[in-house]
Amino acid sequence: MKSLATLLTLFFLTSSAWASSQHGIEAHDPWVREAPPTARVLAAYLQLHNHGDKMRTLVSVESPSFKRIELHRSAEKDGMATMARVMKIMIPAHGKVSFEPGSLHIMLINPLAPLKSGDKVDLTLHFADGSSLNIRADVRRGGGGTSGMAHHHDPDHPMGMQKESHGDMKKHEHDH
Protein backbone atom coordinates (compact mmCIF):
# COMPACT_ATOMS: atom_id res chain seq x y z
CA MET A 1 0.00 0.00 0.00
CA LYS A 2 2.81 2.29 0.96
CA SER A 3 4.69 1.48 -2.24
CA LEU A 4 1.58 2.19 -4.25
CA ALA A 5 1.36 5.62 -2.64
CA THR A 6 5.01 6.24 -3.40
CA LEU A 7 4.44 5.16 -6.95
CA LEU A 8 1.47 7.48 -7.29
CA THR A 9 3.40 10.35 -5.77
CA LEU A 10 6.30 9.67 -8.09
CA PHE A 11 3.97 9.51 -11.04
CA PHE A 12 2.36 12.78 -10.03
CA LEU A 13 5.71 14.47 -9.52
CA THR A 14 7.21 13.36 -12.81
CA SER A 15 4.13 14.02 -14.89
CA SER A 16 3.79 17.48 -13.44
CA ALA A 17 7.44 18.12 -14.16
CA TRP A 18 7.00 17.02 -17.77
CA ALA A 19 3.89 18.98 -18.44
CA SER A 20 5.07 21.82 -16.24
CA SER A 21 1.74 23.52 -16.66
CA GLN A 22 2.16 25.20 -13.31
CA HIS A 23 5.10 27.11 -14.74
CA GLY A 24 3.40 27.93 -18.00
CA ILE A 25 6.52 26.86 -19.88
CA GLU A 26 6.30 23.84 -22.13
CA ALA A 27 9.16 22.18 -23.98
CA HIS A 28 8.59 20.53 -27.34
CA ASP A 29 10.72 17.99 -29.15
CA PRO A 30 13.94 18.26 -27.17
CA TRP A 31 16.81 16.50 -28.94
CA VAL A 32 20.57 16.32 -28.91
CA ARG A 33 22.56 16.03 -32.12
CA GLU A 34 24.58 12.82 -32.02
CA ALA A 35 28.25 13.61 -32.50
CA PRO A 36 31.43 11.71 -33.28
CA PRO A 37 32.48 9.64 -30.24
CA THR A 38 35.43 11.93 -29.55
CA ALA A 39 33.42 15.17 -29.69
CA ARG A 40 33.84 17.38 -26.64
CA VAL A 41 30.79 19.51 -27.38
CA LEU A 42 27.26 18.72 -28.49
CA ALA A 43 24.18 20.78 -29.18
CA ALA A 44 20.64 20.38 -27.89
CA TYR A 45 17.57 21.81 -29.58
CA LEU A 46 13.93 22.30 -28.55
CA GLN A 47 11.03 24.70 -28.67
CA LEU A 48 9.97 26.53 -25.55
CA HIS A 49 6.39 27.71 -25.36
CA ASN A 50 5.35 30.22 -22.75
CA HIS A 51 1.65 29.82 -21.99
CA GLY A 52 1.79 32.32 -19.16
CA ASP A 53 0.97 36.01 -19.02
CA LYS A 54 4.49 36.99 -18.05
CA MET A 55 7.68 36.96 -20.04
CA ARG A 56 10.05 34.26 -18.83
CA THR A 57 13.81 34.33 -18.98
CA LEU A 58 15.95 31.24 -19.38
CA VAL A 59 19.26 31.83 -17.64
CA SER A 60 21.01 28.47 -17.37
CA VAL A 61 20.81 24.76 -18.05
CA GLU A 62 22.22 21.87 -16.03
CA SER A 63 22.67 18.19 -16.75
CA PRO A 64 24.24 15.28 -14.91
CA SER A 65 25.72 14.16 -18.24
CA PHE A 66 27.89 17.23 -18.91
CA LYS A 67 30.50 19.21 -17.03
CA ARG A 68 29.27 22.50 -18.33
CA ILE A 69 26.39 23.96 -20.34
CA GLU A 70 25.99 27.32 -22.05
CA LEU A 71 23.40 29.00 -24.21
CA HIS A 72 24.71 29.76 -27.68
CA ARG A 73 23.64 31.25 -30.94
CA SER A 74 25.15 30.30 -34.29
CA ALA A 75 24.79 32.65 -37.20
CA GLU A 76 25.81 32.88 -40.77
CA LYS A 77 26.80 36.39 -41.80
CA ASP A 78 28.85 37.74 -44.70
CA GLY A 79 30.07 34.24 -45.47
CA MET A 80 31.23 33.65 -41.90
CA ALA A 81 29.87 31.02 -39.54
CA THR A 82 29.94 32.39 -36.03
CA MET A 83 28.87 31.17 -32.64
CA ALA A 84 28.48 33.33 -29.57
CA ARG A 85 27.35 32.78 -26.04
CA VAL A 86 24.11 34.39 -24.92
CA MET A 87 23.53 35.02 -21.24
CA LYS A 88 19.74 34.86 -21.17
CA ILE A 89 16.89 34.08 -23.46
CA MET A 90 13.52 35.77 -23.14
CA ILE A 91 10.38 33.82 -23.91
CA PRO A 92 7.60 36.36 -24.41
CA ALA A 93 4.23 35.84 -22.74
CA HIS A 94 2.16 33.52 -24.93
CA GLY A 95 5.10 33.26 -27.28
CA LYS A 96 7.74 30.72 -28.14
CA VAL A 97 11.43 30.49 -28.82
CA SER A 98 12.94 27.82 -31.07
CA PHE A 99 16.37 26.37 -30.51
CA GLU A 100 17.27 24.95 -33.89
CA PRO A 101 20.27 24.06 -36.06
CA GLY A 102 22.08 27.09 -37.40
CA SER A 103 20.65 29.31 -34.69
CA LEU A 104 20.02 29.08 -30.95
CA HIS A 105 21.25 25.94 -29.24
CA ILE A 106 22.05 24.61 -25.82
CA MET A 107 25.78 23.98 -25.93
CA LEU A 108 26.69 20.82 -24.02
CA ILE A 109 30.36 20.84 -23.07
CA ASN A 110 32.50 17.87 -22.00
CA PRO A 111 30.20 14.86 -21.85
CA LEU A 112 30.99 12.53 -18.95
CA ALA A 113 30.40 9.56 -21.27
CA PRO A 114 30.01 9.22 -25.05
CA LEU A 115 26.41 9.48 -26.23
CA LYS A 116 24.79 7.56 -29.05
CA SER A 117 21.52 7.77 -30.94
CA GLY A 118 18.76 6.43 -28.72
CA ASP A 119 20.38 7.62 -25.48
CA LYS A 120 18.54 10.09 -23.28
CA VAL A 121 19.88 13.28 -21.76
CA ASP A 122 18.27 14.88 -18.72
CA LEU A 123 18.34 18.66 -18.72
CA THR A 124 17.20 21.11 -16.08
CA LEU A 125 16.30 24.54 -17.36
CA HIS A 126 16.60 27.38 -14.84
CA PHE A 127 14.62 30.57 -15.19
CA ALA A 128 15.27 34.04 -13.81
CA ASP A 129 12.31 33.81 -11.43
CA GLY A 130 13.95 30.84 -9.68
CA SER A 131 11.73 28.19 -11.22
CA SER A 132 13.10 25.28 -13.21
CA LEU A 133 11.92 22.74 -15.71
CA ASN A 134 13.15 19.15 -16.13
CA ILE A 135 13.19 17.71 -19.59
CA ARG A 136 14.53 14.57 -21.22
CA ALA A 137 16.06 14.90 -24.66
CA ASP A 138 16.60 12.12 -27.21
CA VAL A 139 19.99 11.77 -28.78
CA ARG A 140 19.58 11.38 -32.52
CA ARG A 141 21.55 11.68 -35.69
CA GLY A 142 20.75 15.05 -37.19
CA GLY A 143 21.15 15.76 -40.85
CA GLY A 144 21.96 19.17 -42.10
CA GLY A 145 19.25 19.66 -44.69
CA THR A 146 15.62 19.48 -43.80
CA SER A 147 15.89 19.72 -40.04
CA GLY A 148 19.12 21.60 -40.43
CA MET A 149 19.30 25.06 -41.85
CA ALA A 150 15.85 24.99 -43.36
CA HIS A 151 15.07 28.42 -41.99
CA HIS A 152 17.72 29.99 -44.19
CA HIS A 153 15.59 29.04 -47.14
CA ASP A 154 12.30 30.22 -45.79
CA PRO A 155 11.89 33.96 -45.52
CA ASP A 156 8.42 33.48 -44.09
CA HIS A 157 9.66 31.51 -41.14
CA PRO A 158 8.14 33.11 -38.05
CA MET A 159 11.36 34.41 -36.58
CA GLY A 160 9.95 37.79 -35.63
CA MET A 161 9.35 36.93 -32.03
CA GLN A 162 12.79 35.41 -31.70
CA LYS A 163 14.35 38.51 -33.14
CA GLU A 164 12.57 40.57 -30.58
CA SER A 165 13.98 38.53 -27.76
CA HIS A 166 17.34 38.58 -29.48
CA GLY A 167 17.33 42.34 -29.38
CA ASP A 168 16.66 42.25 -25.68
CA MET A 169 19.42 39.75 -25.21
CA LYS A 170 21.96 41.84 -27.03
CA LYS A 171 21.30 44.54 -24.52
CA HIS A 172 21.96 42.20 -21.61
CA GLU A 173 24.81 40.23 -23.04
CA HIS A 174 27.37 42.78 -21.96
CA ASP A 175 26.03 43.11 -18.44
CA HIS A 176 28.30 40.29 -17.41
Binding site: V41, S74, G79, A84, R85, G145, H152
Partner: protein
Protein backbone atom coordinates in the same frame (compact mmCIF):
# COMPACT_ATOMS: atom_id res chain seq x y z
CA UNK B 1 -37.96 36.16 -71.76
CA UNK B 2 -35.35 38.49 -70.15
CA UNK B 3 -34.88 35.81 -67.53
CA UNK B 4 -33.49 33.34 -70.02
CA UNK B 5 -31.07 35.91 -71.40
CA UNK B 6 -29.94 37.21 -68.04
CA UNK B 7 -27.24 34.57 -67.33
CA UNK B 8 -25.42 35.17 -70.59
CA UNK B 9 -23.42 38.31 -69.68
CA UNK B 10 -22.40 36.59 -66.47
CA UNK B 11 -21.30 33.49 -68.32
CA UNK B 12 -19.27 35.73 -70.59
CA UNK B 13 -17.66 37.51 -67.67
CA UNK B 14 -16.80 34.24 -65.99
CA UNK B 15 -15.37 32.88 -69.23
CA UNK B 16 -13.22 36.00 -69.66
CA UNK B 17 -12.06 35.82 -66.06
CA UNK B 18 -11.14 32.14 -66.49
CA UNK B 19 -9.29 32.89 -69.71
CA UNK B 20 -7.31 35.66 -68.01
CA UNK B 21 -6.50 33.37 -65.12
CA UNK B 22 -5.21 30.65 -67.43
CA UNK B 23 -3.17 33.19 -69.41
CA UNK B 24 -1.73 34.50 -66.15
CA UNK B 25 -0.70 31.03 -65.02
CA UNK B 26 0.91 30.22 -68.37
CA UNK B 27 2.74 33.57 -68.47
CA UNK B 28 3.90 33.09 -64.90
CA UNK B 29 5.20 29.61 -65.64
CA UNK B 30 7.06 30.85 -68.73
CA UNK B 31 8.63 33.75 -66.86
CA UNK B 32 9.74 31.69 -63.89
CA UNK B 33 11.13 29.03 -66.23
CA UNK B 34 13.26 31.54 -68.08
CA UNK B 35 14.45 33.17 -64.86
CA UNK B 36 15.24 30.19 -62.66
CA UNK B 37 18.27 28.72 -64.48
CA UNK B 38 20.04 32.09 -64.62
CA UNK B 39 19.65 32.65 -60.91
CA UNK B 40 20.82 29.11 -60.22
CA UNK B 41 24.08 29.11 -62.10
CA UNK B 42 25.21 32.63 -61.39
CA UNK B 43 24.73 32.97 -57.64
CA UNK B 44 24.82 29.49 -56.14
CA UNK B 45 28.34 28.31 -57.01
CA UNK B 46 30.21 31.53 -57.50
CA UNK B 47 32.59 30.63 -60.26
CA UNK B 48 35.94 32.33 -60.04
CA UNK B 49 38.47 32.59 -62.78
CA UNK B 50 40.32 29.48 -61.53
CA UNK B 51 43.56 30.49 -59.92
CA UNK B 52 46.43 28.16 -59.07
CA UNK B 53 47.08 27.58 -55.38
CA UNK B 54 50.53 28.79 -54.40
CA UNK B 55 52.65 26.06 -52.79
CA UNK B 56 51.37 25.39 -49.28
CA UNK B 57 52.12 22.81 -46.64
CA UNK B 58 50.19 21.83 -43.57
CA UNK B 59 52.14 19.93 -40.93
CA UNK B 60 51.32 18.84 -37.41
CA UNK B 61 54.25 18.16 -35.06
CA UNK B 62 56.40 17.95 -38.15
CA UNK B 63 54.19 15.31 -39.76
CA UNK B 64 52.94 16.34 -43.24
CA UNK B 65 49.15 16.72 -43.38
CA UNK B 66 48.37 18.28 -46.74
CA UNK B 67 50.20 19.94 -49.61
CA UNK B 68 49.60 20.91 -53.23
CA UNK B 69 50.54 17.44 -54.49
CA UNK B 70 47.78 15.84 -52.43
CA UNK B 71 45.27 17.81 -54.46
CA UNK B 72 46.71 17.14 -57.91
CA UNK B 73 44.70 15.04 -60.34
CA UNK B 74 41.58 15.11 -58.18
CA UNK B 75 38.63 17.29 -57.45
CA UNK B 76 38.69 18.35 -53.81
CA UNK B 77 35.85 19.73 -51.76
CA UNK B 78 37.33 21.66 -48.84
CA UNK B 79 35.51 22.82 -45.76
CA UNK B 80 37.15 24.80 -42.96
CA UNK B 81 35.86 24.36 -39.41
CA UNK B 82 36.71 22.87 -36.01
CA UNK B 83 35.47 19.94 -33.99
CA UNK B 84 34.35 21.97 -30.97
CA UNK B 85 31.65 23.39 -33.23
CA UNK B 86 28.50 21.42 -32.39
CA UNK B 87 26.06 23.11 -34.73
CA UNK B 88 27.10 24.43 -38.14
CA UNK B 89 30.13 22.15 -38.72
CA UNK B 90 28.37 18.82 -38.14
CA UNK B 91 25.37 20.01 -40.17
CA UNK B 92 27.64 20.88 -43.10
CA UNK B 93 29.58 17.62 -42.81
CA UNK B 94 26.30 15.69 -42.72
CA UNK B 95 25.29 17.43 -45.96
CA UNK B 96 28.67 16.59 -47.48
CA UNK B 97 28.19 12.96 -46.44
CA UNK B 98 24.86 12.99 -48.27
CA UNK B 99 26.54 14.62 -51.26
CA UNK B 100 29.01 11.74 -51.25
CA UNK B 101 26.14 9.23 -51.32
CA UNK B 102 24.49 11.05 -54.22
CA UNK B 103 27.78 11.15 -56.13
CA UNK B 104 28.22 7.41 -55.55
CA UNK B 105 25.42 6.95 -58.05
CA UNK B 106 27.36 8.73 -60.80
CA UNK B 107 29.78 6.26 -62.42
CA UNK B 108 33.43 7.13 -61.85
CA UNK B 109 32.91 10.47 -60.12
CA UNK B 110 34.09 9.41 -56.67
CA UNK B 111 37.26 7.90 -58.16
CA UNK B 112 38.76 11.34 -58.53
CA UNK B 113 36.91 13.26 -55.82
CA UNK B 114 38.02 13.85 -52.24
CA UNK B 115 36.38 15.55 -49.28
CA UNK B 116 38.72 17.39 -46.93
CA UNK B 117 37.88 18.97 -43.59
CA UNK B 118 40.51 21.53 -42.57
CA UNK B 119 40.50 22.34 -38.87
CA UNK B 120 41.41 25.94 -38.11
CA UNK B 121 41.73 25.06 -34.42
CA UNK B 122 45.06 23.17 -34.13
CA UNK B 123 45.26 24.00 -30.42
CA UNK B 124 42.45 21.53 -29.72
CA UNK B 125 42.20 19.38 -32.87
CA UNK B 126 44.94 16.80 -33.30
CA UNK B 127 45.20 14.60 -36.42
CA UNK B 128 43.86 11.74 -34.25
CA UNK B 129 40.79 13.73 -33.16
CA UNK B 130 40.22 14.80 -36.74
CA UNK B 131 40.49 11.27 -38.09
CA UNK B 132 37.83 10.06 -35.65
CA UNK B 133 35.69 13.09 -36.37
CA UNK B 134 35.64 12.82 -40.17
CA UNK B 135 35.37 9.03 -39.99
CA UNK B 136 32.06 9.42 -38.21
CA UNK B 137 30.54 11.30 -41.16
CA UNK B 138 32.16 9.22 -43.88
CA UNK B 139 35.23 6.97 -43.64
CA UNK B 140 36.47 8.40 -46.97
CA UNK B 141 36.58 11.94 -45.59
CA UNK B 142 39.97 13.39 -44.73
CA UNK B 143 40.63 15.61 -41.71
CA UNK B 144 43.76 17.77 -41.59
CA UNK B 145 45.22 20.70 -39.74
CA UNK B 146 48.48 22.64 -39.46
CA UNK B 147 49.87 25.52 -37.49
CA UNK B 148 48.07 28.83 -37.60
CA UNK B 149 50.59 30.38 -39.99
CA UNK B 150 50.30 27.50 -42.46
CA UNK B 151 46.52 27.53 -42.21
CA UNK B 152 46.39 31.25 -42.84
CA UNK B 153 48.69 30.91 -45.87
CA UNK B 154 46.33 28.35 -47.40
CA UNK B 155 43.07 29.96 -46.36
CA UNK B 156 44.09 33.42 -47.59
CA UNK B 157 44.41 32.09 -51.14
CA UNK B 158 40.74 31.23 -51.13
CA UNK B 159 39.41 34.21 -49.24
CA UNK B 160 38.77 32.07 -46.21
CA UNK B 161 38.88 33.79 -42.87
CA UNK B 162 38.95 32.42 -39.38
CA UNK B 163 39.51 33.98 -36.01
CA UNK B 164 39.16 33.05 -32.42
CA UNK B 165 35.79 34.20 -31.16
CA UNK B 166 34.52 34.59 -27.63
CA UNK B 167 34.71 32.12 -24.77
CA UNK B 168 37.62 31.43 -22.49
CA UNK B 169 40.03 28.51 -21.79
CA UNK B 170 38.93 25.26 -23.46
CA UNK B 171 35.49 26.53 -24.37
CA UNK B 172 36.31 29.26 -26.88
CA UNK B 173 34.60 29.53 -30.26
CA UNK B 174 36.23 29.97 -33.64
CA UNK B 175 34.52 32.04 -36.30
CA UNK B 176 35.22 30.63 -39.73
CA UNK B 177 34.18 31.04 -43.34
CA UNK B 178 31.19 28.86 -44.10
CA UNK B 179 31.76 28.22 -47.82
CA UNK B 180 32.77 24.91 -49.41
CA UNK B 181 35.74 25.40 -51.75
CA UNK B 182 36.21 23.41 -54.90
CA UNK B 183 39.78 22.76 -56.04
CA UNK B 184 40.19 21.34 -59.54
CA UNK B 185 42.63 18.59 -60.64
CA UNK B 186 45.17 21.25 -61.68
CA UNK B 187 45.21 22.42 -58.04
CA UNK B 188 43.40 25.62 -58.89
CA UNK B 189 40.81 27.24 -56.66
CA UNK B 190 37.89 26.75 -58.99
CA UNK B 191 34.62 27.54 -57.25
CA UNK B 192 33.07 28.61 -54.01
CA UNK B 193 29.82 27.04 -52.86
CA UNK B 194 28.20 29.36 -50.39
CA UNK B 195 26.16 28.35 -47.33
CA UNK B 196 23.54 27.22 -46.58
CA UNK B 197 24.51 23.88 -48.06
CA UNK B 198 22.09 21.24 -49.21
CA UNK B 199 23.38 17.97 -50.59
CA UNK B 200 21.22 18.10 -53.72
CA UNK B 201 22.51 21.57 -54.64
CA UNK B 202 26.16 20.78 -53.91
CA UNK B 203 25.84 17.58 -55.91
CA UNK B 204 24.23 19.33 -58.88
CA UNK B 205 26.65 22.25 -58.89
CA UNK B 206 29.68 20.02 -58.58
CA UNK B 207 28.58 17.84 -61.51
CA UNK B 208 27.83 20.93 -63.60
CA UNK B 209 31.30 22.35 -62.92
CA UNK B 210 32.93 19.03 -63.78
CA UNK B 211 31.03 18.92 -67.06
CA UNK B 212 32.30 22.36 -68.06
CA UNK B 213 35.86 21.65 -66.97
CA UNK B 214 38.57 21.79 -69.62
CA UNK B 215 41.44 19.47 -68.76
CA UNK B 216 44.86 20.89 -69.69
CA UNK B 217 45.74 20.07 -73.28
CA UNK B 218 49.06 18.28 -73.37
Amino acid sequence: MPNTHAPNPWMKRIAVALLLLVLGIVAGALISRSITPTVDSSTAAQLQAPHPLQPFRLTYDGVPQLGNDDLRGKWSLLFFGYTHCPDICPATLAELARTYELLAQEPGVLDDTQFIFVSVDPARDTPQTLAAYTDYFNPAFIGVTGDTEQLTALARQMDIQFRRGDGSDEAYNVDHASAILLIDPQVRYHARIKAPHHAQDVHRQFLEIRRQYQPPSS
